[in-house]
C-alpha cells in the first residue's frame, strides 16, 4: 500500500465514522451522547487534516457518501458500532505509519492510533466491557 492509498482510505473511513456517529448518537442517552459528540468533533478534525494532506499531494480527496449502510437498533448496538468505528480506524492509522518514511505522516498516524485506542476505552467503559484495553491497538486480527 502506498502512503497516498493509506491517506485516501483513512479519509473515506473518517467520512463514514462521522456519519456512523450521527446515527448511533440518536440511540444514546443525553450523557452518553455527549461522548459521541466529542468523538465526532475529533473525527471532523482528522477529516480536515487528511483532506489537507491529500490536496498537498495534488490528489483529489474522496468526498463523503450521501448515506452509509448503518443500522443501529438500540443502545447496545450503538456502543458496539462506536467501538468498531474506532478499532477499524486504528488499523488504518497503524497502516499509515507502515506506508511512509515522512516523519510528519508517521507522527500523524501515531497520534491517530493513540486517539482511537483511547476512545475504545471510553466506549468499553460505558458498555461495561472488560478488559478495557488490548496490547497492540491497530494490529489487524489474524484471519
Amino acid at each position: 500500500m502506498s502512503e497516498e492509498g493509506a491517506l485516501t482510505d483513512l479519509l473515506a473511513a473518517e467520512h463514514a465514522a462521522i456519519y456512523g456517529y450521527g446515527v448511533l448518537g440518536a440511540r444514546l442517552d443525553d450523557k452518553t451522547r455527549e461522548l459521541a459528540l466529542r468523538a465526532c468533533d475529533a473525527h471532523r478534525s482528522s477529516r480536515n487534516v487528511l483532506d489537507t494532506a491529500l490536496r498537498a499531494r495534488s490528489l483529489t480527496p474522496p468526498t463523503t457518501a450521501a448515506s452509509y449502510d448503518v443500522v443501529v437498533t438500540g443502545r447496545a448496538d450503538a456502543l458496539q458500532l462506536a467501538q468498531r468505528i474506532e478499532t477499524d480506524l486504528g488499523v488504518l492509522w497503524r497502516d499509515l505509519v507502515g506506508t511512509t518514511d515522512d516523519p510528519a505522516l508517521r507522527a500523524l498516524g501515531a497520534k491517530g492510533l493513540q486517539a482511537s485506542a483511547v476512545q475504545v476505552v471510553v466506549w468499553r467503559r460505558v458498555a461495561h466491557l472488560r478488559p478495557l484495553t488490548e496490547a497492540f491497538p491497530g494490529q489487524a486480527s489474524p484471519r
Binding site: W93, R106, G109, A110, A117, V118, V122, F136, G138, Q139
Partner: protein, 148 residues
C-alpha cells in the same frame, strides 16, 4: 532529604539501561532500530516494575492492574527483550504514593509519559518497528485513560 520522584525514576532508568539487553546478543554495531528497540524495552521495564510494586503494595487493585501489566509483558516480548533478573523486578515503592488512588494516578502518569516516549521514536524507526512502537504508544495512552 527524601529523593524526588524524578530522581528515583532517572536512577531507576540508569539501572535498567545497564541491566536490560535485547534478546539477541549484539555481534556487530547495533543498528538504529536495535537502539530504539532497547530504549523502548527500558521504558516498558520501568512500567512493569511500577506495576509490580503497586500489586504488592495495594493488592485490592489486582483485578484492575493485572491485565494492564500483562499487556506490558507482551510489549516487552514484542520488542525482543528478556525479563530482568529476578532481583530487580519492582520499583521503589516511594514512586507509588501512599494510597491506591495515588498509585493509580502515578501509574497513569508513567503510562502517559511512556506513550509520549514511544511516539517520539515512531518517525525515525524502520517501518515495521515504527508500527510496533505506534501500537505500544497507543496502548499506553489507552492505559492512562483506563486508569482515570
Amino acid at each position: 532529604m527524601q529523593p524526588s520522584r524524578r530522581q528515583l525514576l532517572s536512577g531507576a532508568a540508569v539501572g535498567l539501561a545497564a541491566a536490560c539487553t535485547p534478546d539477541k546478543p549484539v555481534a556487530k554495531t547495533p543498528s538504529k532500530d536495535d537502539r530504539l528497540r532497547e530504549e523502548a524495552a527500558i521504558r516498558e521495564e520501568a512500567l512493569l516494575r511500577l506495576y509490580a510494586a503497586a500489586l504488592i503494595a495495594f493488592p485490592a487493585l489486582t483485578a484492575e492492574l493485572q491485565p494492564l501489566q500483562a499487556q506490558h509483558v507482551e510489549h516487552r516480548t514484542a520488542l525482543g527483550a528478556q525479563p530482568l533478573p529476578s532481583a530487580i523486578t519492582r520499583a521503589d515503592p516511594r514512586l507509588l504514593g501512599r494510597t491506591p488512588a495515588e498509585a493509580r494516578r502515578n501509574l497513569a502518569a508513567l503510562e502517559k509519559g511512556t506513550a509520549d516516549g514511544h511516539a517520539a521514536a515512531v518517525p525515525s524507526a524502520g517501518r515495521p518497528l515504527a508500527q510496533v512502537l505506534a501500537s505500544l504508544s497507543a496502548c499506553e495512552a489507552a492505559h492512562a485513560e483506563a486508569l482515570r
